[in-house]
Subunit: 181 residues, 2 copies
């Protein structure tokens, strides 16, 4: 049961939206807000080959094009893997250690799972965030004033604020998503 990296899921999700080449995917990572992913060939081409070996995507040489483009398409097994990943519970671990992966998952929900799965996802996210923000606030009340360095205390406050922003975003998202059910 080989694990799947964030990059691999990102590729899988993008290929689910459109069949495209490695170069197209690289351009997406270079020129869109998905730019926190690396667009280097040394990461993307090997990742595509790994996905192909697992049977999650398949390559087809684009013959009408003069250039030697390999267009990748997601397979049924790939779509199943994607949906499994998207359907997982949102845990505290996701909040603390896998924020980026969490938002990636969220971005791919629509079109791949039913709206009620999306709503459950957001609900779990709100619940986990509430719990964690509470925990951080309590920690800060206890230890924050004792921190000697200003920048250390401010950095901590920045961390709390960022989770609070996520929380209020998630609450707003929940409302918007519930409206057009």
């Amino acid at each position: 049961m080989a694990t799947t990296s964030r990059l691999e899921f990102a590729l899988l999700g993008l290929l689910q939206q459109n069949a495209q080449s490695g170069y197209d995917l690289r351009k997406t990572f270079a020129n869109t807000p998905m730019r926190h992913f690396s667009d280097s060939p040394g990461s993307i081409y090997p990742a595509l080959r790994r996905l192909e070996e697992r049977g999650w995507i398949s390559a087809k040489a684009e013959d009408d094009s003069a250039r030697k483009r390999q267009v990748y398409r997601i397979s049924a097994a790939g779509k199943r893997a994607l949906i499994d990943w998207l359907s997982q519970r949102v845990t505290r671990e996701d909040i603390v250690h896998r924020q980026e992966e969490l938002m990636l998952r969220f971005a791919f929900l629509d079109g791949n799972v039913e709206r009620d799965v999306t709503l459950r996802f957001v609900d779990q996210m709100v619940a986990s965030l509430e719990e964690y923000v509470k925990e951080l606030r309590e920690y800060f009340k206890k230890f924050g004033p004792g921190v000697a360095r200003d920048t250390g205390r401010l950095a901590f406050e920045s961390g709390i604020q960022s989770y609070e922003t996520s929380l209020s975003w998630a609450r707003g998202a929940r409302k918007k998503l519930a409206k057009n059910l």
Copy 2:
């Protein structure tokens, strides 16, 4: 010129605050808001040895303790390396690809560099964030409404909001830091 990982800098910064053992450092990563770092022995002990090999820290067996604790202490060369890292310019790359490292750097500023270096750091951070937020907003105006999936659009908005939160945090931090100059 071997590169230094985030984990290595985190260890270096913590050892600058207090000489301590690998186990102590692991507990910090396990039980404090620095928990986004891994507390696994397989990452920390090898990282400590790498730092030792570079002469940035040195180990001393704690003899009064019954247990075989190795207490690490930062060296002069280590402190120099730390300060070099802390004094680097804040770039757009830091904002886009190295947010976490950036906040780690910020947290360690006090006590290691003069207050004016800290203020310059925050100024550069504000400037880079302003630019990037502007860029993201323009991108969203152009392409946001065309995004088919609700969750895709919402995820993008979440990203923008998180940068906006950082920006307003940085502005507030700048004011607080300037006050007690």
